[in-house]
């Protein structure tokens, strides 16, 4: 597949730790690709290496097939949307958007700027300073400022984390449709697995500076390559070498028939979550087994003896690390 960005055994070592450790990755052209992982896993450092804010300790970075690791940020045709947006506070929205074009000496500023202002619904806000705008508007100015340059790759560092939670889901979908419309490759960093799963065409999961798995959202969620990935992208119950996700699990009074798997358990707590009921059951060894059942099912009060069951096809087989 045609890739915009390629990382070949890229590392970034600091004095006492390896922030990024031999990461090899390619980002398909025109896709929305996410780097996910817990904080400190190296995802943001990876993004900064691509932007040129940090120098790799080893490895190669290729943009459209050309090595870029020796280029300063201002000579790389990638653009970054910062976590705090990093809008220039002394410039208006329009001046922020024009900043990059002016640095390039673009003769006709007006038509690209007008286009991007329309695209991001910023008409009427052109003369506002960043402190006079809402969080959502600031984010759209940050996106506009980068997109107007038509970069080969747009880097987004936790783009939704600075927004109100209510706004986040809405903007998530807007971001995806924006990516589809402009056709520019987005490389997004997030610690929020739900965000990554819902947005991305491709996901790379990182842990402690290393890549754990690369795949599309379904692969990552349904066929995780490691126990870390399985646990990071969603809740999971481990029974030896086998994992079952709570939403694949049901509860019954009696053991189910056929080739369903089941375990006897005692209900410890039952919490109504609106769209489902979250039940924690004790399998007898003290380990909690989490079940998410539809709310139209039976009610299971704490202390009740039940059976938890699931389909064998929903099992995720991942041996425990020796």
């Amino acid at each position: 597949m045609d890739s915009v960005l390629e990382l070949r055994r890229v590392s970034k070592h600091y004095l006492h730790h390896r922030a990024v450790d031999e990461v090899t990755l390619s980002v398909p052209r025109g896709s929305l690709f996410s780097l996910v992982g817990p904080s400190g896993c190296g995802k943001t450092t990876t993004l900064r290496l691509v932007a040129g804010f940090e120098q790799p300790s080893g490895g190669e970075l290729l943009l459209n097939g050309s090595r870029i690791e020796h280029l300063p940020p201002y000579e790389r045709n990638v653009s970054t949307v910062f976590q705090n947006y990093a809008l220039f506070p002394h410039l208006s929205a329009r001046q922020n958007i024009e900043f990059g074009l002016r640095r390039r000496g673009t003769a006709d500023l007006d038509s690209p700027v007008r286009k991007v202002i329309e695209l991001l619904r910023l008409a009427g806000k052109e003369s506002r300073r960043p402190h006079q705008m809402s969080g959502g508007e600031r984010q759209r100015v940050a996106l506009a400022r980068s997109l107007v340059l038509e970069p080969d790759l747009l880097l987004l560092d936790e783009p939704l984390s600075a927004l109100d939670p209510q706004l986040r889901k809405q903007v998530r979908m807007e971001l995806k449709s924006l990516q589809r419309r402009v056709g520019i490759t987005f490389l997004l960093v997030t610690h929020d697995q739900e965000e990554a799963l819902s947005l991305s065409d491709g996901i790379a999961v990182m842990n402690r500076g290393r890549l754990e798995q690369i795949g599309d959202p379904e692969q990552i969620y349904l066929r995780p390559a490691t126990r870390f990935v399985a646990s990071f992208v969603g809740a999971i119950n481990w029974l030896g070498n086998v994992g079952v996700r709570p939403e694949s699990t049901r509860i019954a009074q009696t053991p189910p028939d056929g080739d369903l798997r089941s375990k006897a358990a005692i209900v410890r707590s039952s919490t109504f979550l609106g769209n489902c009921v979250h039940v924690e059951a004790d399998l007898g060894d003290g380990a909690m087994f989490v079940v998410e059942t539809p709310r139209d099912g039976d009610v299971f009060p704490p202390g009740e003896r039940v059976h938890v069951w699931w389909h064998p096809s929903d099992e995720i087989f991942l041996p425990e690390q020796p």
Partner: protein, 276 residues
């Protein structure tokens, strides 16, 4: 809460009242009185001291003071900004360098100014070395020139420029500089488009501090400038010492204050409007 606030404010309010407002009142009163035979003041009340101010000689001294203060402030900006930028970016060494900027304050300003006299005078270190190296045939007069005065002022007040600029630069969000580079700005463009505009509050604060200090300076022009480069601070000092004309000295002080206030008004107003 309000009472607590009042208590916290009380010391500085008292200090300002005792050391600023009351003396200011006294100066105002003196400026409207007649000189006493051996210094001091006596009656009757008069406007005469103010009538004497528009003398071409005094206006020349005022103009010279403004000029020297402006030149010194400009030089302090030009030298202080790069230094502040260096300090703000020197990582774990920054506290050491910051201390080096402040260390000269541990020595008396008078002593440091005398040191400049030893360096600058015709038989001083600089001339001796230049003559010895054969660069100069004859020592040339550096001391008692406008050059020496401005040098002394810049030397003395540079830290007052560096520290406020450093404070704004240190608070400057690094990601703004990264964003500028990311959007294609080369380092110099980033400096002139982002860093300098955003450190304007510090540059302005430093300029105000340095300009006012230079305008009222009397030690530096007295020691390094000699009689040809007298500034308004020396004029005021003279009235209170050798001339024994306290009322006229008071009138001059108030003139100086008025000039400073007029010059600062636009700066303070912009600050209030939140443009900085």
């Amino acid at each position: 809460m309000t009472r607590l606030r009042a208590w916290f404010l009380a010391p500085s309010a008292l200090l300002l009242a005792a050391l600023f407002l009351i003396p200011l009142g006294i100066i105002c009163a003196y400026s409207l009185m007649t000189r006493g035979p051996y210094g001091g003041v006596s009656g009757p009340w008069t406007w005469d001291n103010y009538a004497r101010l528009p003398d071409p000689l005094y206006l020349l001294i005022l103009w010279r003071s403004l000029l020297y203060a402006a030149i010194s402030t400009a030089l302090c900006v030009l030298m202080g900004f790069p230094l502040a930028l260096f300090l703000a970016r020197s990582g774990h060494r920054r506290n050491l360098y910051l201390a080096l900027v402040i260390v000269p304050f541990w020595t008396s300003f008078l002593v440091r100014t005398y040191a400049w006299m030893f360096l600058l005078r015709e038989t001083g270190l600089i001339n001796s070395v230049l003559v010895w190296l054969g660069i100069l045939e004859q020592p040339f007069e550096m001391l008692y020139t406008p050059f020496a005065v401005i040098l002394g002022l810049v030397y003395g007040y540079l830290p007052f420029m560096v520290l406020p600029i450093y404070a704004t630069l240190e608070r400057l969000d690094r990601s703004l500089i990264e964003a500028a580079a990311d959007l294609g700005a080369r380092p110099l463009e980033s400096l002139f488009r982002i860093v300098i505009p955003l450190s304007r509050p510090g540059i302005l604060a430093g300029s105000v501090l340095v300009f006012i200090s230079c305008l009222g300076a009397y030690l530096t022009p007295d020691l390094l400038g000699g009689g040809k480069t007298i500034m308004i601070g020396n004029l005021v000092q003279n009235q209170f010492t050798s001339a024994r004309d306290w009322p006229f000295g008071s009138a001059l002080s108030l003139l100086l204050m008025l000039v400073v206030m007029l010059l600062l008004m636009p700066v303070l107003r912009r600050r209030q409007e939140g443009l900085l």
